[in-house]
């Protein structure tokens, strides 16, 4: 479904050029859920944004569904296949557009017919129901906004969803709801996910395989089952694992 090889992404010009991603490569099979983990600044979101066409300065090869992507604008067919859900549901919805307007505009842009019925269907799909159709973002909670953002991504009937930390701005109870929703939608619509998170347990729950990123490079790609069993080879993965298990008391930790 998605194949990335030797991907380099940079910002700025020499001499101030920052190489955010260096030589990243991975493959995601159709129907698979693939995770990218790493700390902030490791380049995981940058990979996602480069695939979505939000960053023009990249080199290497990105193939979606067999088609090579070039630099510059993505075409319509691309956005029918690939859609993105952003991290912050408070920032990714227009404050003065109602849910109805957001979905209707997206559907129209995608050249869909029977827009009215489709909106009803999308809202049902993401578990919101009709009472939310004419609400504005400020009338929604964080979890409800993220549901609208997911509905908007689904409007194009894509096959690959790029999920950029979709639950990191939400409470744990709401996070559980959204993760369940994403799992249901994947099964129902046979979607492929590429999910970015800093939270190993979220990736472990959602994904089949994952890539661990550090300072712009992929240090390891492994199945989640291996991660769980502690069969990672890169020391950095073990470090992330240890840190995600929480806080160890001072006595047990190495002296500073």
């Amino acid at each position: 479904m998605l194949s990335v090889s030797d991907l380099n992404v940079w910002f700025g010009q020499i001499p101030d050029r920052v190489d955010a991603v260096r030589g990243a490569g991975f493959q995601v099979a159709p129907g698979e859920s693939f995770g990218l983990v790493g700390e902030s600044g490791s380049g995981k979101s940058t990979v996602l944004r480069a695939i979505a066409g939000l960053i023009p300065t990249w080199s290497g090869s990105i193939r979606v569904d067999g088609a090579d992507l070039r630099e510059g604008r993505r075409d319509r067919a691309f956005f029918k296949t690939v859609q993105m859900v952003f991290q912050d549901p408070y920032a990714s919805l227009h404050p003065r557009h109602s849910v109805d307007a957001v979905l209707a505009e997206t559907l129209r842009l995608q050249g869909m017919d029977r827009i009215d019925q489709r909106i009803v269907r999308l809202l049902d799909d993401v578990g919101l129901g009709q009472s939310f159709r004419f609400r504005y973002p400020h009338q929604l909670s964080g979890g409800q906004r993220q549901r609208v953002a997911i509905a908007r991504a689904l409007a194009a009937e894509p096959r690959l969803l790029l999920l950029d930390e979709p639950t990191s701005a939400l409470d744990v109870s709401v996070q559980a709801e959204i993760l369940n929703l994403l799992a249901d939608l994947r099964a129902e619509h046979k979607l492929t996910y590429l999910m970015v998170s800093h939270d190993l347990s979220v990736i472990g729950h959602m994904c089949d395989r994952l890539a661990v990123m550090q300072q712009g490079r992929i240090v390891e790609i492994l199945p989640v089952a291996d991660l769980r069993a502690g069969r990672s080879t890169a020391p950095y993965t073990a470090q992330l694992m240890a840190a995600s298990e929480g806080y160890r008391a001072l006595e047990a930790a190495p002296a500073p």
Binding site: E39, S40, G142, D171, V172, S173, V174, Q175, A176, E177, L179, N180, A183, H198, L200, S201, V202, G204, H205, M206, L227, R228, Q239, L240, M241, A243, S244, G246, Y247, R248, A249, L250, E251, A253, P256
Partner: protein
């Protein structure tokens, strides 16, 4: 644990905001004692945990109102103090570290000047002594090159460093209580551990009281001595942190269950079904002994 009088004692704290639909109560009758310990306050957004922290320092802006039956710092009331006296307590005896260092540091002042200013406000020390103190504090929070950082502006330091600078600034006047409002949420896991170690050491070595506000249940269970769980402006359960995973309140249980876990994969995460009764039910607490006193078996190593 030395069972002397608590550092801070709060009884029936209420914070309310007038709205067009009448008064909205963000905190509804919170009572607790803080000793020389790490007290975790956990809850979802909107549960009133940050408001509780801010109310202790009198940082609720009008028209918000703070009311309480009593609020005492080492036996003396800090409720409704005139602003001038409150300012002495704020920063001097009770400090607060906010969630995001980007918004709490002054962007047009060097880090060093900010720490020196904070210190001199409370310590009436000459400038060169304050500078030495600032350097010392930066070293205490594990900043490698304090001389350079002193002359840096906040945008020139990383998020983790910014948070450590905030802690250094808050600790320079030697407060007895530190209120940390999600101090590590904006930080990466590796930096997080470092910041927690610093606070841990301060509680242990200085006998400080720490109120640690967080939404991260696992972190609080491992880091704190005691935990208060808040829901809709009230404390619904209070228990020793090490027993958090045996919590009895359905809300606490629901929160714990909704966390995905690497060691125990499930196909679907249990979703929290909220019940109206949680808003007003009685607080659950460990059955043995006074619910508000720290239990002996949660004492810190080192006899504190």
């Amino acid at each position: 644990m030395t069972q002397d009088a608590p550092l801070l004692s709060v009884r029936d704290l209420r914070v309310s905001f007038p709205t067009r639909q009448g008064s909205f109560q963000a905190v509804r009758g919170v009572s607790f004692d803080l000793g020389r310990e790490r007290l975790g306050v956990v809850g979802e957004s909107g549960s009133g945990k940050s408001m509780t922290g801010r109310a202790i320092l009198g940082l609720i802006r009008p028209p918000g109102r703070i009311e309480a039956a009593s609020m005492t710092l080492e036996g003396r009331s800090i409720l409704d103090l005139p602003e001038r006296q409150m300012r002495k307590i704020r920063g001097g005896r009770i400090s607060m570290v906010m969630q995001d260092p980007k918004f709490s540091l002054n962007p047009v002042m060097t880090v060093g000047r900010q720490i020196i200013e904070a210190y001199r406000l409370h310590a009436a020390a000459p400038r060169d002594q304050a500078r030495r103190k600032a350097l010392e504090m930066l070293e205490a929070v594990q900043i490698r090159d304090p001389e350079r950082v002193m002359d840096a502006y906040p945008h020139e330091v990383s998020g983790g460093m910014g948070q450590r600078i905030m802690i250094a600034m808050m600790l320079a006047p030697g407060p007895q209580i530190l209120i940390a409002d999600e101090p590590t949420s904006a930080l990466d896991v590796s930096v997080r551990t470092e910041v927690l170690h610093i606070m841990d050491r301060l509680v242990r070595d200085r006998g400080m009281g720490l109120i640690f506000i967080s939404h991260d249940l696992n972190l609080v269970a491992q880091f704190c001595d005691r935990v208060l769980i808040m829901y809709a402006g009230r404390i619904v359960e209070t228990l020793p942190a090490r027993d958090l995973h045996q919590a009895r309140h359905p809300y606490t249980r629901g929160l714990l269950n909704s966390l995905p876990r690497l060691d125990a994969p499930v196909s679907r995460l249990p979703v929290l079904a909220r019940q109206d009764s949680w808003r007003d039910d009685d607080t659950l607490s460990p059955s043995d002994g006074d619910p508000l006193s720290p239990r002996a078996d949660t004492a810190l190593p080192g006899g504190l």
